[in-house]
């Protein structure tokens, strides 16, 4: 594998991984509780801890390599509507991956996300948030694909529950969608490496990438509490079947990266309790560049605002009573 190919493979892996960074936050808007999603980030602004998120995938490199990611995310509200999240990820790439083909292990770049809840409409179960994610260049190990440059990703998040559908469509009211659209801007336009043997220089261009995704979820807790209590077993009443899509499309400065969209489709299920949730999803690559086999991702997620409502689970600056819903 040439330097250039190796860099391209690592960059592609980094792009795919970026879409799988620990996603968290949960949000309550009116009747609707938007759970924390695993592959994309949801519009929630909350005090919470996703620990751990574990994913096992097989990369789209040639030859393909198995990759284990173990990550965490801690989100802290500064005010009711503004939070900062920190997300470290540790990766282990099995042979024949890694720069020398022997595999590699280490931390990915630390990611920090600033998120602000811009609008919430409890009646229509609609919420919009804006955010800025910063992947701090050089904070991770290059062997596992961590970039030496910082990447900034302004992102728009939204969530919409369908509880406001007419009674004739009661069956559809537990459905909800969430989504995100971000634009990843690398702090460096290119990296040039020189082969020590031949003296040849290779330049790798760092594309700007559209980071987008969505989730479709069917909330059995919502069915029970807002539509029809049909006497399902208690365990089932806590389940939310979900399908997530997490995609990345290079859109500019794509000379060496190409413009192929990579990503995964993740069908799975969440179990949501009063102060924590667990989830598991299959990770299905959308094309060869995104991976070579179906992977898996699982997460434990703690709602710190519910576990520690009077201490670390409340905003640093608060008006007194936690406003879980911004009523009209």
């Amino acid at each position: 594998m040439t330097n250039r190919t190796s860099l391209a493979a690592l960059y592609a892996a980094a792009i795919v991984l970026a879409g799988m960074m620990p996603a968290s936050s949960h949000e309550i808007v009116g009747n609707r509780m938007f759970p924390a999603t695993l592959a994309i980030d949801d519009p929630g602004v909350a005090d919470e801890l996703a620990l751990p998120t574990i994913s096992l995938t097989k990369s789209g490199d040639t030859p393909s390599a198995r990759q284990l990611d173990v990550s965490a995310e801690y989100s802290k509200r500064i005010t009711e509507d503004f939070a900062i999240a920190f997300a470290p990820t540790w990766s282990r790439i099995s042979a024949p991956g890694g720069p020398a083909g022997n595999g590699a292990a280490g931390f990915q770049n630390l990611e920090t996300t600033f998120k602000y809840r811009a609008y919430a409409n409890p009646e229509h179960e609609f919420v919009v948030s804006t955010g800025l994610s910063i992947e701090w260049g050089g904070s991770g190990a290059q062997d596992v694909g961590a970039d030496r440059f910082t990447t900034y990703t302004p992102t728009l998040y939204f969530g919409k529950g369908f509880g406001d559908l007419p009674a004739s469509m009661n069956w559809a009211r537990p459905f909800a969608i969430t989504g995100q659209v971000g634009y990843a801007i690398p702090g460096s336009t290119s990296t040039t490496t020189v082969d020590p043997d031949t003296g040849d220089a290779d330049t790798e261009f760092h594309p700007r990438v559209l980071v987008w995704g969505a989730s479709l979820q069917y909330s059995l807790p919502y069915l029970k509490s807002a539509v029809a209590d049909i006497g399902l077993p208690e365990f089932v009443n806590h389940l939310i079947p979900i399908v997530e899509a997490s995609m990345q499309t290079p859109v500019s400065n794509t000379l060496t990266s190409g413009t192929v969209t990579t990503g995964t489709i993740n069908p799975g299920v969440l179990w949501v309790g009063q102060s924590m949730q667990v989830g598991i999803e299959a990770v299905i690559p959308v094309n060869r560049q995104s991976g070579t086999s179906v992977g898996v991702i699982g997460q434990m997620h703690f709602f710190l605002d519910d576990i520690f409502p009077h201490s670390i689970g409340r905003p640093i600056f608060t008006s007194g009573i936690a406003a879980a819903n911004r009523g009209p």
Partner: protein, 120 residues
Amino acid sequence: MRTAIIAIAILTSIACAPGAQAHAQLDHASPAVGSAVKSSPKDVTLSFTEAVEPKFSSIEVIDAQGAAMNRGSARAVSGNTAQLRVEVKPLKAGTYTVKWRVLSVDTHRTQGSFSFSVGP
């Protein structure tokens, strides 16, 4: 790694502890959510997942025209801090909407609504 496992174990045990506080969500209701009852109930009782503060909570029962059908305000149910009850006027055949807003004892506000119908 051991520290992380211990931290997860501690958090899990706290999160699953019976005394853990959280947002009060509707657990079940009488009449049941989405149900059809043959005759008018005397009251509507809501059971939440957490204890609530009756003084800062409300239940409203409205008919299809938007008229309030509850008598007075929501009251605590003796011996159960997670239940609220509101008396209702005699309800004719039709569909009624229950709107609730509660303040849990840990000061989280939540709200929701559901419908039930009366009639043969």
